[in-house]
């Protein structure tokens, strides 16, 4: 099964990517990724919430806003897609994600459209 890990990060985490703590930040992530091996079949690092745009269309009326929709402190910093046997396995992999300690991560199984057809 495929499971997506949505990685929420704090403003401090985003700042650490380029600031004086950048080495420690990236070392953690590199070390973490290296333990996952070929279980990771996809993923990306996202720019901080301020670099994004939110689009809504209601009754044909379009609204385009800067930034993320929710005004929470944490925002989506990236995602990974795991190819695993079970949610248990995905939980074990997610538990050591650096963002689980600083903000939070969420796991979602992908929906297999072919299996539903």
């Amino acid at each position: 099964m495929q499971v997506m890990m949505l990685i929420q990060e704090t403003p401090e985490d985003f700042a650490a990517r380029t600031g004086p703590a950048a080495n420690a930040y990236w070392e953690k992530w590199m070390a973490y990724s290296s333990t996952l091996g070929d279980k990771v079949v996809g993923g990306n690092i996202l720019g901080d919430g301020g670099t994004g745009v939110t689009i809504t269309v209601r009754d044909g009326e379009r609204q385009i806003q800067d930034g993320p929709y929710a005004d929470s402190k944490e925002s989506l910093g990236g995602y990974m897609i795991f190819e695993v046997e079970s949610m248990d396995e995905a939980i074990e992999m997610a538990a050591t994600c650096p963002a689980a300690a600083s903000a939070r991560v969420e796991l979602r199984p992908t929906v297999d459209m072919a299996a539903n057809a």
Partner: protein
Amino acid sequence: MISVDQEVELAARESYGRLLAWLTSRCGSISLAEDALAEALSAAVKRWPETGVPDNTEAWLLTVARRRLIDEQRRQGRHADAETKLATAEKIRLTIAATEASETPFGAGLPERRLELLFTCAHPDIPDGMRTPLMLQTVLGLTAEQIGSAMMVAPATIGQRLVRVKRRIADKGIPFRIPPDEELPERLAHVLDAVYAAYGVGYDDADDASGAAAGLAGEAIWLAGLLVQLLPDEAEPKGLYALLCLSEARRPARRDDKGRFVPLEEQDTSRWDPALIESGEIALWRAARQQQSGRFQIEASIQSMHAHRARTGVIDWEAIGSAYHLLMNTYPTLGAAIGYAASLGRVGEVAEGLVVLDDLDADRVARYQPYWAVRGWLHAEAGQRIAAVDAYDQAIGLTADDAVREWLLERRALAAGD
């Protein structure tokens, strides 16, 4: 002033396992007993605010729960035609329960049936990974959220698995009893393993701080103490109890004032809990007098040797190494082999330590953090920079605790020579 809700919670904490064990011994079904007890607890939440908290909360809960069991029996009786063979057997047990319900169990206190419950939970027919959760739920009354967080399983999943495993107990007719003498040592080992797993879920190396973060340390020590009390003729429960007390005694020293991780051999011994160390030492001494050797006594003796540093100021790595070697040969676990490898490194036998690690099964150690942390250290001691950095990377990536991760990042930087 504590609220009625807190009174109920307190009564539940103290009595849950005792009441559930007794009810299960009467009706033969953990699920039925749980439902009845859950209803009694919710009745208490509703009624106690109006009537006041009864003097004997346990007797009150038991009376209500027993009445529910009998109601359930009547209900099942009405649907007898549609019942399966199993449910018929259940009904017979319930009939017995109803007859026995007239005996009041409150003369010399509620009869102790928790040992039967513990042995049922750790029965060989129950899958390895489910013994600890079942014990935590039935003996301590922990919720699926609490159990799931400690065992790294989604709460809904653990809930479903617990339901299935209780059905399995009924289907397989796993008896609710203390095993006969000839089976006792093996069966007891399963019980002790399940309690130990509750203490350091996922990390069977007690030297590592991360395991204790699971949050069930207090519950595990309580269960181990209960086993000591219920099985006075057995030495191993005392060994386990000693091991857990000695490990737990060091919790306050695992972080410094700034919240940074401190490894065992560098801990400030004045931060160790002297009362827990004493409890551990006494239990270990009592176990030794029974002259039945065992895995947990050896592990406890290793922790005791570490505890001696508080008095002597030194660590006898030779003696610790011998104890790990004995443990590895008699009760082989990953933790024992890794402990042995580390103690070899401490007495200058770094290459030998690495050989011990090389001999371990690669699949079993792939995601085992203590293995990589010790491996990184041994490579660094041997001056093998690249191998040390690679091993530390694995250890860092497999660490859930931020303080331990920071500490490992420092070790990695030292090993890399930056």
